[in-house]
């Protein structure tokens, strides 16, 4: 299409089939139309999704109202439903995953982008991107067979013995639970953070680095004080991409979280996440109210993701403004 004329100016009337044909031939109009359609389909799909969830959860919304968010019971037999344990489980595992994955991912990205020789960096990046493509059920299986026994036999007893004065590390060590869920999520989202952050760091102009070095900064100081702050927005973006994946992750989490809707400060305790309960119970949900409650949970997950994404945007906006003001 490189040779297609963009606008053919010719004297004559600007109307009639010939003129129309000419305009279409230009290609611009078509491209505009097609991309507009594709772009608006995204909005259409999202609003359809919300509409469907909203309509189909009506039964549960009317019955429980706002109490749905504060009720701790999930009883399909006596038809009493509350989302609180699932919201808690989703947030705890995702945040735990981020707490572990962010330092690891960022450290690895800095090494790969700034410090490692290019050949090593390329090879490692390839492996990292491979990790990002592993299906989540594989991570779940690996976790069941290796991570869970390790946690139960060694890590959890050790944590209880050393940090047991904190409420997070008490209670019986089952192996499965919030801690296992958070760790699996951490492993799953690290590749995202590494690969996106590395790209962002590599895109930082060389001037930035050289200026810092010229002022007498060491290599680490230049990286930490000049390069990383410059790439802050992109790094935050990678973190929130990872968070979005953690919130919605279903298979790997349900395999190791213990699937018990309870709220416990202890990370050793079994819990439950929104995505996991939907996957587990949707197929056999026989009652109408039961089904509506599960659909309302999906709506809650959607809203949760929406809010967190909004916060992410806000954070990026604030930090980038502050960043430019500093310099």
């Amino acid at each position: 299409m490189a040779t297609a004329p963009i606008a053919v100016e010719r004297p004559g009337p600007g109307w009639g089939p010939r003129a129309l044909l000419r305009r279409f031939r230009s290609g611009d109009e078509i491209a505009h139309l097609v991309t507009l359609l594709i772009a608006s389909s995204v909005i259409l799909i999202t609003s359809l999704l919300v509409y469907e969830l909203w309509v189909n959860s009506a039964l549960s919304r009317h019955k429980f109202g706002w109490a749905f968010f504060f009720t701790r019971v999930w009883d399909p037999i006596f038809e009493h439903f509350g989302a609180l344990p699932f919201i808690y489980g989703t947030l705890v595992t995702s945040i735990l995953g981020l707490l572990i994955a962010v330092p690891l991912g960022l450290g690895a990205a800095i090494f790969l982008a700034e410090l490692a020789p290019p050949r090593v960096s390329d090879a490692l990046t390839f492996v990292v991107e491979l990790l990002a493509a592993v299906p989540s059920v594989i991570y779940g299986l690996l976790a069941i067979f290796t991570l869970v026994p390790l946690l139960r036999e060694h890590v959890e007893p050790f944590l209880r013995a050393t940090l047991g004065f904190l409420p997070f590390f008490r209670g019986p060590a089952y192996g499965v639970g919030f801690l296992a869920g958070g760790l699996v999520l951490a492993v799953m989202i690290v590749p995202f953070i590494i690969s996106v952050s590395r790209e962002v760091l590599l895109a930082v102009p060389a001037d930035q680095r050289e200026a810092a070095l010229a002022l007498g900064a060491t290599r680490w100081e230049a990286t930490w004080k000049a390069v990383v702050p410059f790439a802050r927005a992109g790094i935050l973006g990678s973190i929130f991409l990872a968070l979005a994946r953690a919130l919605g992750e279903t298979m790997a989490v349900t395999m190791v979280i213990g699937n018990n809707p309870q709220i416990s400060a202890s990370l050793f305790a079994p819990g439950y996440s929104i995505a996991a309960v939907i996957a587990n119970e949707f197929t056999e949900a026989t009652g109408d109210l039961y089904l509506a409650a599960l659909i309302e949970l999906a709506l809650v997950l959607f809203v949760l993701t929406f809010i967190l994404n909004g916060l992410a945007r806000l954070l990026i906006l604030l930090t980038t403004q502050r960043g430019t003001a500093h310099e």
Binding site: F78, M255, N259, A276, N280, E281, T283, E284, T286
Partner: protein, 340 residues
Amino acid sequence: MNKRTLAGVMVSLALAAAVVWAQDPLLLNGAGATFPYPIYSKWFDEYHKLHPSIQINYQSIGSGGGIRQLLAGTVDFGATDGPMNDEQVAQAKVKVLHFPTVLGADVPTYNIPGVKQELNFTPEALAGIFLGTITKWNHAAIAGANPGVNLPGNDIVVVHRSDGSGTTYIWTDYLSKVSNNWKTKVGKGTSVNWPVGLGGKGNEGVTGLIKQTPNSIGYVELIYAVQNNLSYGRVRNSAGSFIKADLASVTAAAAEAAKSMPDDFRVSITDPPGKSAYPIASFTWLLVPAQIQDAKKRDVISGFLRWMLKDGQQYAEPLAYAKLPKEVVEKEMKAIAQIR
């Protein structure tokens, strides 16, 4: 290729098409329970071999989905592991007939370090463990039924299914019958509000958790336990004998229940009378609308049901499902006439 052979090919193609068209291929769609999926797909496959013009599709989307889709009219038949309850029957716009097809059973499986024997479980012990009132393995309710077994004083870790399943329905139906406490606090269903325990996804998830967690107990389908060589315990039936689940003792449970089988076949056979009956078993059902407008479909469904009850039953045991007892088969044969 010269013109004549081309013409010949065309003619034979047209003939073949005509033959296929004349046979009027009939497609039936069904959806529902996952537990009987292996035997159902075997049946539909065998039936298709016998009647090449009939194709039956079955999607194992779960009992709940099977009932919903049948009532919505999107499938020709449904399948469920728990019979429709009275409320569902009352709300349904169409009358639905239940046809038991095969039987399944749940077995208690456990992992106690140092205990290699097959344990005996009383109904009280099982209910207490799953309610969380019995928390140690050396509790009198367990130890009393297992003289000579050196049970440790460790905490019991309960494992249950996290996904909604017919297996859970059978298990909780049984516990509801033997324990009033269970009935009022928890109840029966494909998913329940478990008082204690960890949830594993699927039979394999439960088995995985039990194998890995010392001092744990859970329940899995008999088929799954047999196919994977899991050791499982005996359960005391209502006649007072400890029975190990196998295909014979499950069919025996059904035979006992058949004596008091209601006409609509919606029956729970957990905790049946009878000395040799295993108490935690259940039918699984095909759901067929009582009125089918399309005469061809009606004939095909009736024909399939007759074949399933007569010849189809031989495929059950190789796949580790218990066969229907003779009495139930006879009663069902008569009920097929209700499809109009």
